[in-house]
Amino acid sequence: MNTHFKSASWLSRLSLLLISCVASTTFAGVDSTLALPAEDQNLSAEEIARQVYFANHFYAFKNFSIERRGRTMTVLINRSSSGKVSTTALERHLNNNYQLAEEESIQSRDLAIFHSGKLRGTGMLITEYQDEEKNKDYMVWLPALRKIRRFAQPQHDDAWGGSVFTFGDVTLRKPDDEEHELIGKKKLRTCLGAIDDLENKHYRYVGELPERSCRHINKQVYGLKSTTKFDYWWYDYRISYIDTTSFADYRTLYFKDDELIKVIDRDWGLVDGDRESDPRALFWKYWYGLDLRTGQESWAVIPKKVVSYNKNRRKSFWTEKTLRKIKR
């Protein structure tokens, strides 16, 4: 009797442990239900990291697109160490609205279409699953073959579109991949980076390139130190400057052996000026990256004209069907 009681209690403990494990795994993830913290709330470093992930994955929107409007598109400018410039025009559509029972396993779908450069005519459909352990699905439309091929998830340190930005920087890195520490709170003091000799220049696809963004100077930012959990990684830790209200990460500095090796600056804009709306409902105006090891610079510029969100688009848009329709 006593033995039976003991085994029952052992079982209940085990089940409690399992439940708590599952709960903690769910808690570690970030989805569109992550609440905006109260203004006076003291946030931990991990909570801040989750809010940044929320803003960067556009979870404040059902869907978010940087599309094509006539000849206007988003451009990714890469300048190599020798000064050679290459340009890629692209559009990107993100859908976070998967809540029906049959779609429960899907977290989001991301469709990217390249319109110029070496990747012209290539399409990429990425499916992210709610199960954090599950790898993302990559389907790529190869225009030369006119076929879709499935690819394994790229490595976190693979270059995105041949740029300074890695897949980890753009989409793959999750809050749980790093250990976070809050190093302070201060004002942002400098303008965000840009390829300075291209500022305000007329440029194909965007009309005119912007100038360096100084709007965020004197905004209050958290300093967040994120140390990678990966072994033998390309950086040891990174320091991010995060807006204390909107959780926009304006700047990230990457360090290896305490040496600055890479910088990424992001200019953010609020889609809706309404004071009542979610301050995390932001969009990227531009990304600037500088790799100090190679001297390569990248600048992704997103004209406001091409940004749209919460559009009434059928879910079938985020399927292979759209990939097959891409014209070269």
Partner: protein, 133 residues
């Protein structure tokens, strides 16, 4: 003969390495790296010591391009608008302060000058209607 070849290859190597760090030097020369390092050091020291005459810290300094102002104050924003869109500025200047402040705050959030210009005209109409009543 071997020595000559060695010298040639050394020369080529140094030429290549100087080319490869060309852009890095660009970023360093234009003061961007110094500015962000000074900004980062503030986390440790608690004080911001801006590099001299930097065009990356949002002040007018030696650069006469006012559009690079931080737009932190209303005055800076007005000055920026005057240069960026003189036509809209005429209407903006006639608006009551509370509208100007609202426009400034909107610009800080969105950074979208086209929207700000539209709002200036909307506010001007609103003020005109109020005056007529």
């Amino acid at each position: 003969m071997r020595q000559i070849k060695l010298k040639q290859s050394l020369f080529l190597l140094s030429l290549l390495s100087s080319l490869s760090i060309g852009n890095q030097l660009d970023a360093a020369e234009n003061g961007y790296l110094d500015a962000i390092k000074a900004d980062y050091n503030e986390f440790n020291s608690g004080t911001f010591e801006p590099p001299a005459e930097s065009t990356w810290i949002g002040s007018l300094s030696t650069d006469t391009d006012n559009t690079r102002l931080s737009h932190d104050g209303l005055q800076d924003f007005s000055l920026f608008l005057k240069q960026a869109s003189p036509g809209s500025f005429i209407f903006y200047n006639k608006l009551p302060d509370r509208y100007k402040d609202q426009l400034h705050q909107q610009y800080l959030k969105s950074g979208n000058l086209d929207e700000i210009k539209k709002d200036i005209f909307n506010y001007s109409r609103e003020v005109k209607k109020q005056n007529l009543n």
